[in-house]
Structure formats: C-alpha cells, structure tokens
C-alpha cells in the first residue's frame, strides 16, 4: 500500500512543474546544454564548436535547434526505450521542446543569475591514479586528406605476471581527431609482426578490427563515454608478456595533425572471483560450427572454461547482393546460466539496422540492443545498467539489415557490388561481442554503475544509514531528468540521466539488503 501511494505521489510531483512561459537561456537552456553538450563541445575536444557560454550558444541557436530536434546530437545510437545502457546520451522530449521554443522566441538570455553551473570536466584521469600507463611510443601523424584512418598500435605491457584488471581508461592525445578506439591484448606476437612489416609508419592500418588475434578485448573509447569499471569480484585478466593493441579511428581531417594517445590501467584491489569472458557471433557458415571455433580461439573463449555458446545459426550465407536490402537472422544457443555485462555490435558501411534480444525457454524476452540507424562512426561498446541474466537453454537473436543500394549514401561502392565478410572498408561484417560472467543468484539486481569499485550509495542524507528519510528524498527526486534544474546525479543510481523506475528497483534492492 505504502509504496503504491508513494509512487503515485512521485508521478504527481514529476508532472507538477508548469512550463508555460517563454524559456530563457539562464533559467532553462543553460543547464540542458552544459550538461549534455559541453563535455564534447569545448576547447580541445572533439565537438567542433565550443558551447560554453551564452554568446557561443546563441551564435549557433538555429543549428542547435535543428540537431537536437533531429536527434543528431547528442550522439547516441541505441534506442533508449528498447534497452538501457550506461552513459546514454539522450535529451528528453521536454528538453528538446524547451530548446525549440527558446530558439523560436529569439533565444533570450533571461536572468543570468539563474544560469546553470558548468559541470566539472576532469582534466586528468576520471578514475584517479592509474597503476600502469601505456603510451604510444611515438606520435602518429594522420595524412590530413579528409579520409578516415584506422591505425593499430602495438604497445608491449612488459607484465611479468598476469594482472587482474578493474578498469581501463583510454586517454586520447589529440581529442579533436581521435574518433574512437578499440583495445585488446595479443599474446601471440602476431600484431607485433604486422607492425614490423610496415617499417615506414608507426603501427599498421586495419579497418575492420585489430587484424590479429586477441585474448582479451577491453572496453574501448568513444568521445564523452565514461570508462567502465568492473564490479566487485569481476574483471579481466591481462596476461603476462602481452601486447596491448589499440585500433584508433582518426576522423577525416583536412590537416596533417598528430596524436599520441595513452591508456591508464587500474588493477583490482581485491581478487577476481569471476573472470569476464566473451561470447560472440559472426556468421561465416550457415551451421556456424566452423565459425564459432575460429572465434573461440580468436577471443580466447577457451581460457574461460569453454564457451557457453552451444551453437550459432544463421538463416542464410553471409553474402550481401548488390542493389538489394538484405536482412540476416542469427541465433546463438546458450547452454548455461550467464550474466551479460555489455554488448558491442559491429558492422561496416552497408549496415542499417540492429536488433539483439534473448528469449528464455519459457518464451520470456529480454531486449539487449536496438539501433535504428547504424552509423559506423558512432559504434561503441554498450554496458547494461544492470547484469542481464541469460538462462540455460536461452537463445540470443540478432536481426541485422544491410542496404547495398545506391540509396545508401555511405555505400563504399558506386555502382554497388556483391559483398561478403572481410576486414576492409569495402567488405562487410556481422559481429556481436558480449562480455559475460557465469550467473550467480541475485546478479540481476546488481547495478553496473560508473562509480569506482561499482559501489552505489542510497544513503542520500549521509547519516550513515539507509532509512526512510533516504526513501523520501529519493521519491522527491523521482521523475527528474538530467537537464532539469534540480536533477542531482546521486539519485540517478544507474547514471543514465533519468531518475526512473529502473533506479527505483535498484533503490528497493539496496534498501532491502
């Protein structure tokens, strides 16, 4: 009875704020822009125009209205209503309308005393002092010919023993040109060898991925994303003598600038009980058998006590005929209880659509990811806000669509050609890599927060106890979104920008503990 009446109260509170008058920069718009745009749009970052004060924002007013209405900005590809991932960059309908109304009304500045404070943007590491810093041996200079470049750099770790990893933080050397980075570890020396084969340049060019087998794939980097931190008892193992591989995507740029990026590594303070493993699918053959074997080796699945993937099935051969739109349905059969941490979808330039979901033996469905308008330039590794339990006997389905017609402006071939699997820009891929751990009772209630050590606190008033007063505080803030003036980050337990029912569940679980 009590929770019910309180949630009604919460809903009432959320809808109670009237918004009739003309929005102003000071009162309404500054907090939306500062909290959703300025992390990238400030000096030295990847966002091209600085958006750090009224005059800079007003100077781009019509454009800001356009890019927010069309949801081009802030950049975030997964459908937020389908499944929840950490660090989602989305504006609410209300926020988008506020910006539009403000621009239509002639973008008034209003009362500057009400202007939102600028969030603190860390200049050093977001996570603290790293245990190991690995830096590119020398600066790499891009060609500066407006063509994307994908370069793999091999950095020896010189580790004399296996180390357990809590977090990995990629630090771009030149934030203007580094568009994204993938990170992996190679113990075979293959990448080192490839690097030697191109002595004229530092690193080697590889579009699809690392172009070498990797035992571990660590969370990569996209601008603005916070580094993931593995929860208590969970993490990766970085093998001794391994080489760290970073594949950096340099944005098309008209000048030959250079970059020297580095990686901060944080070791686990307490031992790992469950090592993170990978399941992946990539449909090379219709039965999937050959392929899953290849990938098991490639992703080091054997190291984690054998893959939980019983088999992979795809509805047809992975061939994408020219002048057609083709959809593939791929299924993974899972043979034991596992918990998923993250999902990394990957396709190239013909890719249009992604949908990944699981069905358990009872037919219950868990949505994992949907991307309506795939953009190769904004690919990323998406960490779920909570562990996703996949029960033994479940199937994970991927529906992917490719547009190999001339209507696809980024089609690498003009006129279109038949394409199949491969590493090059003019090849295609259908690859999903998911991080998992063996399931343990209660996993589904654990929030994968962005705070160091994976701890979240619901002791909002800081009196050392989780009590009813904290509950009342939470309820008062329920329904607020990032960008609302009174939004406070610590009530947003999963850090997705919305204090909503998901946070309520996390709250309730913590409360009950």
């Amino acid at each position: 009875m009590r929770p019910l009446s309180l949630s009604i109260l919460a809903i009432l509170l959320a809808f109670a704020s009237p918004r009739a008058e003309t929005p102003t920069f000071g009162k309404d718009v500054s907090s939306i822009i500062y909290n959703n745009c300025t992390s990238c749009h400030r000096d030295g970052e990847i966002g091209p125009m600085p958006l750090t004060n009224y005059s800079e924002i007003a100077a781009y007013a019509d454009m800001i209205k356009y890019v927010t209405e069309t949801q081009y900005m802030p950049p975030w590809k997964p459908d937020y209503n389908y499944s929840q991932h950490i660090g989602a960059r989305t504006l609410t309908k209300t926020e988008i309308n506020t910006i539009s109304n403000w621009v239509n009304a002639g973008f008034p500045q209003g009362d500057i005393a009400l202007e939102a404070p600028m969030p603190e943007f860390p200049t050093g590491s977001v996570l603290g002092t790293p245990d190991l810093v690995l830096t590119m041996a020398e600066p790499f200079t891009i060609r500066g010919d407006n063509v994307d470049q994908y370069q793999v750099f091999v950095i020896p770790t010189h580790l004399t023993e296996d180390r357990e990893i809590e977090a990995v933080e990629f630090r771009p050397g030149n934030r203007r040109i580094v568009h994204h980075a993938l990170i992996g570890a190679d113990i075979t020396g293959t990448a080192r060898q490839r690097d030697l084969e191109t002595p004229e340049e530092y690193g080697y060019e590889s579009f699809g991925a690392f172009g070498a087998p990797t035992t571990v794939v660590l969370p990569g980097y996209t601008p603005g994303a916070k580094p993931s931190i593995y929860p208590k008892g969970v993490g990766h193992i970085l093998p001794k003598n391994s080489d760290l591989l970073i594949q950096v995507h340099y944005a098309p740029w008209p000048l030959a600038e250079s970059d020297q990026s580095s990686i901060n590594i944080f070791f686990k303070k307490e031992p790992i009980e469950r090592e993170v493993g990978f399941i992946s699918f990539a449909p090379l053959t219709t039965d999937g058998e050959t392929l899953s074997r290849i990938f098991r080796v490639l992703l080091g699945e054997e190291r984690h006590g054998g893959t939980p993937v019983e088999k992979i099935r795809i509805d047809k051969l992975f061939v994408i005929p020219k002048d057609q739109i083709t959809t593939f349905r791929t299924t993974l059969f899972i043979d034991r209880d596992i918990s998923l941490l993250s999902i990394y979808p990957h396709m190239h330039l013909l890719g249009k659509y992604w949908e990944v979901y699981a069905t358990d033996p009872q037919g219950n469905r868990t949505n994992l990811l949907r991307i309506e308008d795939w953009d190769f330039n904004w690919q990323g590794n998406y960490t779920f806000t909570q562990y996703q339990k996949i029960a033994a006997g479940s199937q994970i389905h991927a529906i992917t669509t490719y547009d190999n017609t001339t209507n696809n402006p980024v089609n690498p071939n003009y006129p279109p050609r038949n394409l199949t699997w491969g590493d090059k820009t003019t090849d295609e891929m259908l690859l999903v890599v998911m991080e998992y751990i063996p399931y343990r009772q209660g996993d589904e209630n654990i929030a994968l927060t962005v705070g160091r050590g994976g701890e979240i606190s619901i002791d909002f008033n800081g009196n050392g106890q989780r009590d009813f007063a904290d509950f009342l505080l939470f309820i008062q803030n329920f329904g607020l979104n990032r960008g609302d003036t009174s939004y406070q980050r610590h009530f947003d337990l999963n850090g997705d920008g919305h204090i909503n029912f998901t946070d309520f569940i996390i709250f309730a679980n913590q409360y009950a503990e």
């Binding site: 005059s55 100077a59 973008f107 008034p108 402006p409 980024v410 003009y414």
Partner: protein, 176 residues
C-alpha cells in the same frame, strides 16, 4: 576647353573601369563558411583544389564568414590554418547573407557582375546529410558551373540544398 578635357577624362575613366571590371572579374564565387562548422572545415581541401583549377581574372573566389562571433582575427586564423588561397571577409551583420540569400555554411553563391546569382547551394554531394559522408562523390555541382563559365557559357540559374551549419538568423533575436 578645360571642361571638355575633364569630361573626356571622366568618360574614359568610367569606360576603363567598366570594361576593367567587365574583363577582370565578371564572376564571383562567394563561399559562406563558419570557422567552427565541421562541414566548412571539411571542404577547405576541395575549395583549395577548385581554386587552383579555376580561379582566374574572370573567376574570383571570396570567403564570407557570417557567424555572429566572427572577427577579423578568427577569420585570419582560419584562413591561415587551412591555407585558403582567396580573400576572406567577415559578415556578422549579414549584409552578404541577405543580399545573396545564403542560409548554410558552407554554401556557395556564384554571381555575375550585377551580383545576380547563377548558382546557389552545395559544393558537391559529399554530404547526404549531417554526418553522412559519401564514400563516392557523384555530383560536383560547383565544378560543373565553373566548367561552363570557363568555356564562356553562362548556365541557367540552378539551386541545390547545401548541407552544413544553419546560419543563425538574428532578425528576430530578443536581446536585452
């Protein structure tokens, strides 16, 4: 007598000037650009190439910077950084924007001596939309217009949709 000489002088001067402008710069290629607009930045390479290929006494390139925050210093810095080989001027009051009807950066307006537009729009079709960059360019609109002009043909007025940053209109801005 004195007066007649003066008259002749002025007529000669006027004729010289008219024919001079007529001969030297019959066509202007106005390029609206934004120092911080990524699409403008992207096209600096293309513009340099087009300039090398087509600029002449008859075809003059002029960069116009309509952003409200453009200053001679920001324009000079942009021109230097991307090594733009043509004159760049500021237009934060939107005199040129209004005269030539530009709405986007980058957008080009090719105009004849009487400042009548014969082409307005994109440079080429690299961008299908914001962030959607073609791997294969199939329409080179500006180059086509410049080719015709080079061959002494004046094409009929054409307009295309430029993709880039919308030029903020300050006409109905509420400044207090």
């Amino acid at each position: 007598m004195h007066k007649v000489i003066a008259k002749i002088f002025w007529i000669a001067a006027a004729l010289f000037l008219l024919s001079g402008t007529g001969l030297c710069t019959p066509y202007k290629i106005y390029i609206f650009m934004g120092e911080t607009c990524p699409v403008s930045r992207h096209y600096t390479l293309t513009l340099k190439k087009l300039h090398t290929e087509y600029a002449s006494e008859k075809l003059e390139f002029i960069g116009i910077f309509p952003n409200r925050l453009s200053t001679p210093a920001t324009i000079a810095a942009f021109k230097e950084k991307y090594a733009l080989p043509f004159t760049c001027i500021g237009d934060s009051t939107h005199t040129w924007v209004n005269r030539l009807g530009a709405t986007i950066t980058p957008e080009v307006v090719v105009a004849d001596t009487s400042n009548t537009a014969i082409y307005r729009g994109r440079i080429d079709n690299t961008f299908a939309d914001l962030g959607k960059r073609r791997r294969v360019i199939t329409e080179r609109d500006l180059a086509n217009v410049l080719n015709s002009l080079k061959d002494e043909k004046t094409p009929a007025f054409r307009q295309t949709q430029a993709i880039g940053c919308i030029i903020t209109s300050w006409q109905n801005a509420k400044q207090e």
